[in-house]
C-alpha cells in the first residue's frame, strides 16, 4: 500500500459488493418470483434490476430482492417498489427494457413510470 488513495480505491471497488449485506436500503425493489412469475419472464427482469442498480452506483440505498406469489398471476412479471415514507408502487407485465426505464426514471429520477403501473395496465 503506497498511499491512502490506493486504499480508498479498493474500498470503492469493493463497497458495492458487500453493501448487499447491510440490507438497510431506503428503497426496496421486490420482484415476484413465484412459478407464474418465472414462467412469465421474471428472471431477466430481476437480473436487469440488479445490474442497473449496480451500474448506477445505487447499491447503498437500493436493495433488490425477490418475493413469492403476489397473487395477480395475470399481471406477471410483477415488480413492487417500496420507498420509505411513500406508498408502494406496483409495476406489472415487466420486461428487461421496462426495468431499465424504471431504474432511470423512478429510482434515479424520483418520477413513477405510471404507464407501467397496475392502475394503467389492461390485461
Amino acid at each position: 500500500m503506497k498511499s491512502l488513495a490506493e486504499l480508498a480505491a479498493i474500498k470503492e471497488r469493493m463497497q458495492g459488493k458487500v453493501a448487499l449485506r447491510e440490507g438497510s436500503g431506503e428503497t426496496r425493489i421486490v420482484v415476484g418470483m413465484a412459478t407464474c412469475g418465472i414462467a412469465a419472464g421474471a428472471r431477466p427482469v430481476l437480473n436487469t434490476f440488479v445490474e442497473e442498480i449496480a451500474k448506477e452506483n445505487l447499491t447503498d440505498r437500493v436493495t433488490v430482492t425477490q418475493t413469492g406469489c403476489i397473487g395477480i398471476c395475470q399481471f406477471e412479471p410483477v415488480v413492487e417498489v417500496y420507498e420509505s415514507g411513500k406508498e408502494k408502487v406496483t409495476y406489472v407485465k415487466m420486461t428487461a427494457d421496462k426495468a431499465k426505464r424504471v431504474v432511470a426514471e423512478h429510482i434515479k429520477g424520483g418520477k413513477v413510470v405510471s404507464e407501467y403501473t397496475i392502475g394503467n395496465t389492461k390485461i
Binding site: M1, K2, S3, L4, L7, I10, K11, R13, M14, Q15, K17, V18, L20, R21, G23, G25, V30, V31, G32, M33, A34, T35, G37, I38, L46, N47, V50, E51, A54, T63, V64, T65, Q66, T67, G68
Partner: protein
C-alpha cells in the same frame, strides 16, 4: 451479476456441525440450477448462536436459517433463492409467538440487546478476503494514524476512550502503551495474547476466525504508537481454523504492503510473526507467554520489571489480548468519545461473553458494559432449559467466581464483578441450574489449576493440591469438622504468596462458592448429603413402596443387580450394592424411585 449473498458460518462451532459440507452442497446445487453467477456463497466467522449451527444467512433480506443440513439445500435454492419464498421451517424463532417469526437476524431476541464492536465483522465478511475487510473501513484507521496522527495522539486517544484489557485483568490499555512508549530503546515489540485457555471461553478464537485483519491492523497501530517494528501473535495450537485464517490474513496484508516496509509511503515498518502455543494454560500469563515465545519453557517470572520496561528478548514490550485489539481501529475511526459513551463509569465499551452450561442459546454475545446478568441469561441467552431454576453463573474461569441469583441484577463491569467476589476474566460465562453442586463446581476448577500449575512456586504447586484433596474428601462424604476453615486459610495464603496470576487467583472458585453457598459445604460435611443430589457418594436412591407397582423394569435395568422384589409388590434397593448410576430412575414409569 450477484444479486444475493449466502453467508455460511465457518467458525469452529458450525464447522464441527457440518458447515463445510453444507457450503459444498450449496455450491453444487447453485451450479446445477445455473444460479452461480447470481448468488455468491461466503464463508464467514462466528455469528454467535453456536448451539443452533450450522447457521446460514441470506442477504439482502437477512433471513436467518438454523440447523441447516445438505438435505435442505435443494429446497432453499428452489424456494428462497429462486422464488423468494422463505423456508419458514428453518428460520430461527425466539419470539415465542408461533405465527410471528423473526425472519431477519437483527430482529431476534438474541441479537436485539447486543452491541457489536469487537465482533462487528464476524459473520459479515469473508475473513479470507482482505478486500472485504477494506470495504468495511478496514486499514483506514492505520492509514489515519500513520498520516495524520503522532504516536502521542494515538496513545492519548486510547487513554481517553477508557479501553481496558479484555483478557481479564482490566488494566487500562492506553496506560500500558504509554509506559512502553516512554522507555527509550531501538527495539520494541507488540505481542498479541491469543492463548485463550479458560474452560468454556472462545471469544478470541471467534474474533481471529471471523475478523483476523482487525487484530493485525490494531497491532500495527500499537507498533506505531510505542515505536515497535515487530509483532508476535501467540496463538493456541488447538485453534487450527484461527491459525489458517491468520496465516492467510498476514500473507494478504504483506501483498498489499499493509505489513512490511514503508507502509503507506510513510517510512513506518511493521511485520508480524505467528507463534503457536504449546498447550499450557500458564502460557496465557504474560511473563510466561514471553518466555515461551523466546523458545524457553513457559514459566512466569516475578514482576517488576514489567514487560513494558523489559519484556520480550529483554526489550520493552506490550501484550494485548485479541478482543482488546479488535476494538482499536474502531476507536481511532469513530473517536474516543464514541467508545467512552458506551458502558459504565469505569468500564467503557462492550464485552464479548461465551455463554455455556445450562442455557438455551449456547454461543457468543457482545453486550455493552453495564448490562445485567439477568438480561444476558434470560433476554439474550434464552433462559435455562427444561424449566429449571437458575442457581449461579461462573465468570472468569479458574480465576473467577460464582455469581448467585441474588446478584442477577448487578450491572456487569470490571469493578462490580470484583465487588461481588468474581471477576470479568476473559469472558467465559457458565450458567448453572439447581442440579449443579457448588462444591463439585469448585472442585472442577481446582482440578484444572492443579493440572495446569507450572510447579515453579510452592504455594501454587502444593497449596492448590492440598485444597483439592479437601474438596475431594468433602464430595466423597468424608468431610470433617474444620475442613471449611482449613480451605479458607489455605486460600488466603496461596492468594498472597503465589508467584503469578494463575496461582494468586486459583483459590477464587472455592472462596466465592464458600461465600454464597456455604450451606452446601456444610450439608456435605455435617449431614453427609448433597443438596443438588449431584455427588454420587452422598446420594441415597430408594423406592417409594406406595408408588411402586412392582413391574420389575428397574431391577432388569440395574447393572449390579442391586434391586430385587416380587412382581406386583414393591421392589427394594440393596444400598450396599447400589452404585448410584440412576439407570433405574430413568426406567421407572411411575416416578417411584427417589433420590435423597
Amino acid at each position: 451479476m450477484i444479486r444475493a449473498h449466502v453467508m455460511i458460518c465457518g467458525g469452529t462451532g458450525c464447522t464441527s456441525s457440518g458447515s463445510d459440507k453444507l457450503a459444498a452442497a450449496l455450491e453444487t446445487e447453485l451450479k446445477t440450477r445455473g444460479l452461480e453467477e447470481e448468488i455468491k456463497v461466503v464463508r464467514t466467522g462466528c455469528f454467535g448462536l453456536c448451539a443452533l449451527g450450522p447457521i446460514m444467512i441470506v442477504y439482502p433480506d437477512g433471513t436467518f436459517y438454523i440447523r441447516v443440513t445438505p438435505d435442505d439445500i435443494p429446497e432453499i435454492v428452489e424456494e428462497h433463492l429462486l422464488k423468494g419464498r422463505v423456508v419458514q421451517r428453518l428460520v430461527y424463532d425466539d419470539s415465542g409467538v408461533p405465527d410471528i417469526k423473526a425472519n431477519s437476524l437483527n430482529e431476534t431476541g438474541f441479537y436485539k440487546k447486543q452491541k457489536r464492536v469487537a465482533l462487528r465483522n464476524c459473520g459479515v465478511i469473508n475473513p479470507e478476503e482482505i478486500d472485504e475487510y477494506i470495504a468495511l473501513d478496514g486499514y483506514r484507521a492505520l492509514g489515519k494514524v500513520l498520516t495524520e496522527m503522532t504516536p502521542d495522539q494515538v496513545i492519548q486517544t486510547i487513554l481517553d476512550s477508557g479501553l481496558r484489557g479484555r483478557g481479564g485483568g482490566g488494566f487500562p490499555t492506553g496506560r500500558k502503551w504509554m509506559f512502553a512508549a516512554k522507555v527509550p530503546s531501538d527495539k520494541k515489540y507488540v505481542v498479541c495474547n491469543a492463548d485463550e485457555g479458560d474452560p468454556g471461553a472462545f471469544m478470541d478464537r471467534s474474533v481471529l476466525e471471523g475478523d483476523p485483519h482487525a487484530v493485525i491492523e490494531a497491532m500495527a497501530i500499537a507498533g506505531y504508537a510505542i515505536g515497535a517494528d515487530e509483532g508476535y501473535i501467540y496463538v493456541r495450537a488447538e485453534y487450527p481454523i484461527a491459525i489458517k485464517r491468520l496465516e492467510i490474513a498476514i500473507r494478504e496484508a504483506r501483498e498489499y504492503n499493509l505489513l512490511g516496509k514503508d507502509i503507506f509511503g510513510t517510512g513506518f515498518n511493521f511485520d508480524i510473526t505467528l507463534r503457536f502455543g504449546a498447550g499450557a494454560f500458564v502460557c496465557g500469563e504474560e511473563t510466561a507467554l514471553l518466555t515461551s515465545i523466546e523458545g524457553k519453557r513457559g514459566e512466569p517470572r516475578p514482576r517488576p520489571p514489567f514487560p513494558a520496561v523489559k519484556g520480550l528478548f529483554g526489550q520493552p514490550t506490550i501484550i494485548n489480548n485479541v478482543e482488546t485489539l479488535a476494538n482499536i481501529a474502531q476507536i481511532i475511526l469513530k473517536g474516543a468519545d464514541w467508545f467512552a459513551s458506551m458502558g459504565t463509569e469505569k468500564s467503557k465499551g462492550t464485552k464479548v461473553f461465551a455463554l455455556g452450561g445450562k442455557i438455551n442459546h449456547t454461543g457468543l454475545v457482545e453486550i455493552p458494559m453495564g448490562t445485567t446478568l439477568r438480561e444476558i441469561i434470560y433476554d439474550i441467552g434464552g433462559g435455562i432449559p427444561n424449566g429449571k431454576k437458575f442457581k449461579a453463573a461462573q465468570t472468569g474461569g479458574p480465576s473467577g467466581g460464582c455469581i448467585p441469583a441474588s446478584h442477577l441484577d448487578t450491572p456487569i463491569d470490571y469493578d462490580s464483578l470484583i465487588a461481588i467476589g468474581s471477576m470479568m476474566g476473559s469472558g467465559g460465562l457458565i450458567v448453572m441450574d439447581e442440579d449443579n453442586c457448588m462444591v463439585d463446581i469448585a472442585k472442577f476448577f481446582l482440578e484444572f489449576t492443579v493440572d495446569e500449575s507450572c510447579g515453579k512456586c510452592a504455594p501454587c504447586r502444593i497449596g492448590t493440591r492440598r485444597m483439592l484433596e479437601i474438596l475431594e474428601r468433602i464430595t466423597n462424604g468424608q468431610g470433617q469438622d474444620g475442613d471449611i476453615e482449613k480451605l479458607e486459610e489455605l486460600a488466603m495464603n496461596i492468594k498472597t504468596s503465589a508467584l503469578c496470576g494463575l496461582g494468586q487467583t486459583a483459590p477464587n472458585p472455592v472462596l466465592s462458592t464458600l461465600r454464597y453457598f456455604r450451606d452446601e459445604y456444610e450439608a456435605h460435611i455435617y449431614e453427609k448429603r448433597c443438596p443438588a443430589h449431584h455427588c454420587k457418594k452422598l446420594a441415597v436412591i430408594s423406592i417409594n413402596p406406595e408408588k411402586c407397582k412392582g413391574c420389575s423394569a428397574c431391577s432388569r435395568a440395574c447393572p449390579v443387580e442391586a434391586i430385587s422384589g416380587e412382581i406386583k409388590k414393591p421392589f427394594v434397593i440393596d444400598q450396599s450394592k447400589c452404585i448410584k448410576c440412576r439407570t433405574c430412575i430413568d426406567k421407572c414409569r411411575f416416578g417411584a424411585i427417589e433420590i435423597k
